[in-house]
């Protein structure tokens, strides 16, 4: 069964002037179809303004579709009475680590979500405990979020979502404001949640190297899905990726360059290890 299903999803941002006349219409999502199975790790790639964040906000019912339909965990997001339960089953981690932490103490922030949905006190504590543990932040539970690094803040935000026991977590460019260490921390945490707890992950990013380990990748541009497939399938289309000015991992680029020079390397090389292996095979 699919946990997220979008059918011909359209979203238009309408800008009005002071008198309420329509000034401009921007189509952020242009008839998008998408299907995510429970337990998958999905990546959505694209540049700023490609519509990927707009899509994310629909999954969490923060935006409602202009046309088309979207089901999350079997619930239609356009139905007003579904909004809270949709948000409970699809959590969201945002880009700016500072602007999503509400409380001044780490553990109290993690408890914020469960408090909102009326979880009894004892259970809140249980949830906070295991959520902090699952992101490796138990040590910092009594700290102020202001003293943490970007990656740590982002892990607190993830714990806050985990504490709501969602079936699916949408990560909306969670690493865009982090340094390389912070990026690694966050991506590793997402993978661990997926692997150990079976949480469906939707990772939205513009960094190619973060999607290498995903189960399935969608590439978006101008509100459309322009490519989809497994990372290997996507990365074997180097020319196309370059044409859309997406970053390709250097290992893939070297492989491509070698192929152009007539070296017999298979297409769809993703990692350095694979490339080394392929080159050594050629040598023999």
């Amino acid at each position: 069964m699919s946990i997220i299903k979008a059918k011909q999803l359209v979203h238009e941002f309408i800008r009005r002037d002071e008198e309420g006349n329509v000034e401009s219409i921007t189509t952020a999502l242009d008839h998008v179809d998408l299907k995510v199975k429970q337990g998958q790790f999905i990546a959505i790639l694209g540049h700023n303004g490609s519509g990927k964040s707009t899509l994310a906000k629909h999954i969490n019912a923060l935006l409602a579709p202009s046309e088309g339909s979207l089901w999350v965990d079997g619930m239609d997001v356009s139905e007003e009475e579904n909004v809270l339960s949709v948000r409970q089953s699809a959590g969201m981690v945002f880009q700016n680590p500072d602007n999503q932490i509400i409380a001044s103490v780490v553990e109290e922030d993690v408890g914020f979500g469960p408090e909102n949905i009326g979880v009894p006190t004892d259970e809140i504590w249980e949830r906070v405990n295991y959520s902090l543990k699952s992101v490796g932040m138990t040590k910092y539970r009594n700290h102020s979020p202001n003293k943490l690094s970007g990656g740590q803040k982002q892990r607190v935000a993830i714990a806050g979502v985990v504490a709501m026991e969602p079936k699916c977590i949408v990560f909306d460019e969670p690493t865009a404001m982090l340094d390389p260490n912070g990026r690694k921390e966050v991506i590793a945490t997402a993978h661990e949640l997926n692997r150990k707890k079976g949480v469906t992950i939707l990772l939205i990013t513009h960094y190619m190297e973060e999607v290498v380990d995903a189960d399935y990748v969608y590439v978006m541009e101008k509100g459309n899905i322009i490519m989809e497939g497994t990372p290997r399938e996507i990365f074997s289309r180097v020319a196309e990726l370059k044409q859309h000015r997406l970053d390709v991992p250097q290992a893939t680029l070297v492989a491509e360059e070698l192929r152009k020079k007539g070296v017999r390397i298979p297409a769809g090389i993703l990692t350095r290890e694979e490339l080394v292996e392929a080159i050594l095979k050629v040598k023999k």
């Binding site: 540049h47 700023n48 404001m177 340094d179 997406l246 290992a251 070297v254 360059e257 050594l280």
Partner: protein, 281 residues
């Protein structure tokens, strides 16, 4: 414009429990027209270091000589220093405030006390050299995309005609296309305007292909200082302090350890491919 740093130390909140030694005995010489990348992870002291170069922070001990003059001399004109050493901060939103982009770029030269005509001429030149689209000159800066905001912010500093331009993580928060555009632009400016450019970043890969010299900061000290190829020889040590050399460097070393005679100095994809082809023959 040469800058010499002599045994610079800097402490945050000195003499308190929160005391942090952010810089330790920094000795550096920055010559005219250099293109330098300062690399380090968060908290390595790189941002603290560059804020010394235009006097925004004053060293706890040590001296900085700009064109032979000690900037900590009592009669030294700090504002004059800031006219010559321009600095673009990480987030452009921190400096944009005027009603139009053009007016915003005028702010710096206006503060230099130039007459209106010169100010506008400078602003116009600066916006042109960052290739800012002309139809946006008189639009408010707040609606721009991240990349365009960055251009206005850079132009705002360029309009002051600095001899040294420091950019603190100019690509933070940009997507790969935006990042490449800005880095290309900066490299171009360095070539065309002939000014010294100092680029601060936490990404080796981004900076390696542009700069002539890399300074690696770690825990408040200079760890390596040299041409990129030289610095990347220490890829294992870099890895230990949480910085990675370009992927290609790793690839070349791995191939070499497997007995393939490749060039360890290759840093770009093209160089690597060429060297591998040669080694395979």
């Amino acid at each position: 414009m040469s800058i010499i740093l002599d045994k610079i130390n800097y402490c945050y909140s000195p003499d308190t429990a929160y005391q942090i030694q952010a810089l330790k005995d920094i000795n550096l010489t920055i010559d005219d027209g250099e293109f330098i990348g300062i690399i380090g992870h968060t908290g390595s002291g790189k941002s603290t270091l560059i804020q010394h170069l235009n006097g925004l922070l004053k060293a706890t001990s040590g001296h900085i000589y700009v064109n032979g003059q000690d900037i900590y001399d009592e009669d030294y004109d700090m504002r004059d220093l800031r006219n010559h050493v321009g600095m673009v901060f990480q987030y452009p939103d921190h400096q944009l405030f005027e009603t139009t982009n053009f007016e915003d770029v005028c702010f710096g030269p206006k503060n230099q006390g130039l007459d209106r005509q010169t100010v506008e001429l400078r602003a116009y030149e600066a916006l042109r050299s960052v290739k800012f689209p002309e139809d946006l000159y008189y639009q408010p800066p707040f609606d721009l995309s991240g990349g365009q905001k960055r251009r206005v912010a850079i132009a705002g500093v360029l309009a002051m005609k600095p001899q040294v331009l420091i950019l603190d993580e100019p690509t933070a928060g940009l997507d790969p296309a935006g990042r490449d555009e800005i880095l290309d632009l900066i490299a171009n400016m360095h070539k065309e305007l002939g000014i010294t450019v100092i680029l601060v970043s936490h990404s080796m890969e981004d900076v390696a292909k542009y700069v002539d010299r890399i300074i690696v900061m770690n825990q408040g000290s200079v760890m390596y200082d040299g041409v990129p190829k030289e610095v990347f020889h220490h890829y294992q040590e870099l890895e230990e302090v949480g910085l990675a050399a370009p992927q290609v460097t790793y690839l070349m070393h791995e191939l070499r350890s497997q007995g393939l005679e490749v060039d360890l100095d290759a840093t770009t994809v093209e160089e690597a491919a060429e060297s591998i082809v040669k080694a395979l023959k």
